[in-house]
Amino acid sequence: MEQAFRRARGGVVDRNSPVTFSFNGKSYRGFTGDTLASALLANGVHMVGRSFKYHRPRGIMGAGSEDPAGIVQIGKSAHALPNTRASEQEIYEGLESFAQNCWPSLKYDINALNDLFSAFIPAGFYNKTFKGPPGSWALFEPFIRRAAGLGKAPPEADPARYEHTNRHCDVLVIGAGPAGLMAALAAARAGARVMLVEETAQPGGRLLSQNPDSLKLDGKTPAGWVQGLEAELRGHEDAQILTRACAFGYYADNYIGLIENVSDHLPLPVRSENLVRQRLWHIRARQVVLTTGAIERPLVFHGNDRPGIMLASACRTYLHRYGVLPGKKAAVFTGNDSAWATAFDLSDAGVEIAAIVDMRKEPNPELLESARQRGIDVHLHSVITRISGRHRIRAALVQKLDGAGKVASGASALFCDLLAVSGGWSPNVALFSQSRGKLRYDEDIAGFRPGKSWQKERSAGACNGQYSLESCLDAGAAAGVEAARSCGFEAPPSRLPDIKNDRAQHFGHEAVWEVPSALPPHKTRAFVDLQADVTVKDLSLAQLEGYISVEHAKRYTTSGMGTDQGKTANMNAFAILAAKQGKSIPELGITTFRQPYKPVTMGALAGQHVGDFLSPRRTTPMHEWHEANGALFEPVGDWLRPWVFPQKGESFEETLMRETRAARSSLGVLDASTLGKIDVRGPDARVFLSRVYTNAWMKLKPGHCRYGLMLGEDGMVKDDGVTACITDEHFHMTTTTGGAAPVMSTLEDSLQTEWPELQVYLTSTTEQWAVISLCGPNSAGLAGELLDDLDPDPEYFPFMSWRNAHIGGLPVRVFRISFTGELSYEINIAASYGLWLWEKVMQEGAKYGITPYGTEAMHLLRAEKGYIITGQDTDGTMTPADLQMGWIVKKTGDFIGRRSLSMSALMEEDRKQLVGLLTDDPELVLKEGAHVIATPREGAKPVPMLGHVTSSYFSPNLGRSIAMAVVKGGAGRMGKPLFVTRPGLAPAPVKVSATDFLAMSQEKLP
């Protein structure tokens, strides 16, 4: 029968909007507003999965994110969502869900065999087995891995989009139950910027789980009253209510992470690709009010994990919020008063109550009276000792306790399909604890409650151990007022609603952490953590083996380490461990509440910053041309630089050879815009440059340029570049592409921190200038044609100088500098004219066969000249002397890194030094990263290494291979033979040379 367990009325589901969904291939119906759990329960389905280790049947146990057991796989292929809590997933038309961790089916699971052998696979089992011989673990591990895990990760890429967003507010209220609603309203009325966040689909919290027939607030049903408050709150301009949003992490300075489900409740076909699946909120709140409620504790007794055993409060939620009967014949097992209301509500809803079993001798007499009126059997000072029914509870055995609190003989059976259990309540202090607040153990409620705050927050309501509705409303309102006042708002006290409640609220209880068992301890299987399959026996074993720290016991048994983070398990586990050690609970301590409060989609944490947005791709003003002309690009940091410009049918190497040849034989052009540029200005600019570069800058004349090396204080080369003197007090500095940001930061640091007395200002101008570098014998010719007012003839415009000039009437700065050893002109023009000038250069250069070249040819060209690339020929361990650039280090005067150069290890003669390598076979191109050794054969390992090849190319201009390498004592090995390793081949014989191959070629290369 369709929805046989659906009540005729009640609940906040929309009965006019039926929804068809499936579980394990079978189709069911529910209503919009149902969770998967409520909809399955409406159809009489309790068992939904198998446990982690023993593959025992697992059912729906809770009604929210605390449920340790009711987790399923949602959807298929790319839309699959493993490990989804049925009690949180809202149903939608066409939703498909599947049981996890079972094969071949939920009912007949082969791995359930584990359960039969459970006696042999206790906690710590793997520590004691498969230790050897070597390789034995490799043999078993794959099987163990396959048995573990829960759901299946879809292999397809996630089609969903996610995003981050940020908000600041005065008061953030977390949890829209009675306390949270009152708090938010009080703060909003005071004029504060308020955010109220609610994990479920609608505000109301525990109010929606109350019997609307017996509870009225200001004369309205709970749901009606909540609606009124919600409407008022939404009317405040600066108040925002976020539903389906869970505060998962409380970080420093009142920074809270929220995960909002935007689309997960919508049918797949209507999910818009313009709407994200989930949104992650970063909230910075001046004050936080925690109204996160309390979590009911299950009872720890033999067989307590069977489907059909449910938290008493969850039963009420299904009954009233969803209009679902969680069973037809129920028993209640408790040690506290609040669970009795579940029995009464179930009974009033027409569920037959087999009995109320209370471990106490004397519960509240009013409750006894109410039970009597309803004709409910009550077993006092009794416990449930055994459950029958494998896939769903069929009966429970109830036994009396004797005077010593042990199970007495004699038993009676309670036939039931639902067992509501309650071991009392634990304030939900997870976020408070994440905020670094100190917890206080409260004997009265047998639980931890907030003790001392660390951040600007306060807890109100059940999360603060205030359980009655009145105290929640009162404390919530007061917290809202206080929070608003702390933000400087005048906040009048809030009026509380009139409450009419036919059902007296009682929260008396006796904490019984481990329910007395009729069986000896080692035969009792009482589950503490239903998901991780941790039993009391496992906790005993941890104790026996000396894992007595609560953290060791947790890790040894894995208690509380499941996807529910032990929300229902931890308190019981701590108490049981404490008892075993004869300690009080606070003496034992508890484990950390880590973020996130509940699992958060990794895609949502990544947000929109994925794919193309993972990090910016920076492009130059000429990028469009490069792309249109078939450039391949090389990423250099975040920049994309043209790498080669292949022509049709050309291979990479062919392109490279052509570009390299052109730049030396006629005319090449390079987009050098990515070079870092810094404008340096002030009366002390020269002094400043002399301190940050290794060479002298006091005498550089306006109109001239100089190459400089920058070191770290450790004496190692960090960056290099050419700096031009504009006027005596004004310089144009260039850095490497990757060095632009770090150099700027280091220089500002030096000026602001170290040398505030220097009058120098810096401004980054990297992107102000597009830089077009003309290279080759015809570059002067083209430059002459382009420039309106400058004769580029090297005779008048010498190497290492620069001039202001114009092209087409536009101002340009032209630098006669070269990174290739070839005649070159670097033209700097305002970036917005870069593309125009580039196109003009290409057009007018056509007659010289102008050839655009990319970074690869640039690298080759500079290697022909023996110029270094910082980061390629250096790796943070090279001094100027190592690079054979001792000439650039001035003899007197301080500069950054100077003193380190005289440290003993930096002065050693056999340091690795940069040299050229010429292969005996001129056709052979060494591999970059290959190592230099002294012998023609590698010999036994380890092979002594002298250094490695940093740059290596076939040079078309020299007609042979060239390489640069750092080699131990390289400077003293000129002309000497060495060998370079080649995997799988004999080392290649090479001769050590200088690095300026171009110069050598003019003298004739070997």
Binding site: P82, G132, E141, G149, P155, L544, E545, S549, P599, S900
Partner: protein, 416 residues
């Protein structure tokens, strides 16, 4: 120490698991020890174990301020590899890797050493060049290491996205097949149990407050559980090295930073190797329980709060999602932070100090776990002989005054 065997397991299975002995004792501190080791993490316990086993010194106390393995040992992502660039580093990490291979058997405790292979990805030419240089150095040092091109990477690790249009495309990577992961708690417990069996006192909840010296030599420690006399003190307190050293007015070239990690919910096997990416600052493997274990980058500020920013986690996951688009739907289940000691050259400090009898082992940065047995072994030798073990010698503190750094930045997973 009763051995764990198939027979003991069967016996206890039938016996209701009631007959097991304690894995280690809970002794009270004695008045004096031959050696006091500060820090009950894996490195400290390994040091104690090797001192007792190989150097006959068993009158040792390991002092742990909290619970053993509760610092970085319990917080790291357990990646094991030895494919380091420089000879000095390769030597110590390979020394460790050889020991990892047989450690389960030696300790009679399954540390779940899984040699499933470690991939270090290259995302641009510069990185590829650097990695190839390292592979070649590894080969010449006799350490297994090979280059995989993008296609081979995909074959070895199918979930990796090797699309050339990715923001950080995979050009290839190095693979060390002997590398892998193990179980951090098991290593701590295994060393503790074995050291305890050799007579080492493991004293938890015992924090060192001061170090006492006379004439430039240590004489003992003051702890929250009383004074202890000893001629030799070894500090092995990842993250807190400077705190202990400051008790002797020793400054170290170490900065402590938050380093974060996280695990996903458990799922059936989805990735069968370890993947590390330097460029995007993330590393990932899957535990035997099914959780994806993901390491994030370090926070750049100094910090002892064992907490970093959420933004660092978000960056790491953006990188993971980029590399593994199918993991985007999985959920982060737990995040946490540790404190890493970072040296300027990304290499550790192992050795003596100017105070006689005070030895230090720290500064491992993000790379300490994989060195554990090697570190403990050479440190024990150094303590026992008052002279550095040859493998430890290059990592002496003096290298900073000489300028003889072992600059391993490129070899660490996270560039500092």
């Amino acid at each position: 120490m009763s051995r764990y065997s198939i027979f003991s397991l069967l016996r206890e299975g039938l016996n209701g698991q009631r007959g097991w002995g304690r894995a280690w004792r809970q002794p009270k501190p004695e008045d004096a020890y031959d050696v006091v080791i500060i820090g009950g993490g894996a490195h400290g316990l390994a040091t104690a174990y090797y001192l007792a086993k190989e150097h006959g010194i068993s009158n040792i106390a390991v002092l742990e301020k909290g619970w053993i393995g509760g610092g970085n040992s319990g917080r790291n992502t357990t990646i094991i590899r030895s494919n380091y660039l420089y000879d000095e580093s390769a030597a110590i990490y390979e020394h460790a890797l050889k020991k990892w291979e047989t450690l389960s058997r030696e300790l009679d405790f399954n540390i779940m050493m899984s040699h499933r292979g470690v991939l270090n990805l290259a995302h641009d030419e510069a990185e590829a060049r650097q990695i190839k240089r390292r592979i070649e150095a590894n080969r010449l040092n006799g350490i297994d290491s090979e280059w995989l091109d993008a296609r081979q990477v995909k074959e070895f690790c199918p979930p990796v996205n090797v699309s050339p249009s990715a923001r950080y495309p995979v050009l290839g990577g190095s693979l060390q097949r002997r590398g892998g992961v193990n179980r951090h708690d098991a290593v701590v417990w295994g060393f503790a149990r074995a050291a305890d069996a050799l007579g080492v006192d493991i004293i938890q909840q015992c924090e060192v407050i001061a170090i006492k010296t006379r004439g430039g030599a240590v004489t003992g420690v003051e702890t929250t559980r009383g004074s202890i006399k000893t001629p030799k003190i070894a500090s092995v307190v990842a993250g807190h090295s400077s705190v202990i050293a400051s008790m002797l007015d020793i400054r170290l070239p170490i900065q402590s930073h938050p380093l974060q990690a996280l695990v996903s919910e458990p799922v059936k096997p989805a990735i069968d190797c370890v993947v590390m990416s330097n460029a995007v600052h993330a590393y990932i493997s899957q535990s035997d329980k099914g959780e994806l274990v993901i390491g994030a980058g370090i926070d750049h500020h100094l910090g002892y709060s064992q907490r970093g920013g959420l933004n660092v986690i978000e960056h790491a996951l953006a990188a993971i999602v980029e590399l593994f688009p199918s993991f985007s739907r999985l959920r982060m289940m737990r995040q946490w932070g540790g404190i890493v000691d970072v040296c300027p050259d990304a290499s550790p400090i192992i050795g003596k100090t100017r105070v006689k009898g005070f030895f230090i082992n720290g500064g491992w940065g993000t790379g300490g776990w994989k060195a554990t047995p090697g570190s403990g072994h050479v440190f024990a030798h150094t303590i026992a002989h008052d002279e550095p073990h040859p493998i430890a010698a290059p990592f002496a503190l003096e290298r900073f005054t000489a300028g003889a750094l072992v600059a391993e930045h490129g070899a660490a997973a996270v560039a500092h």
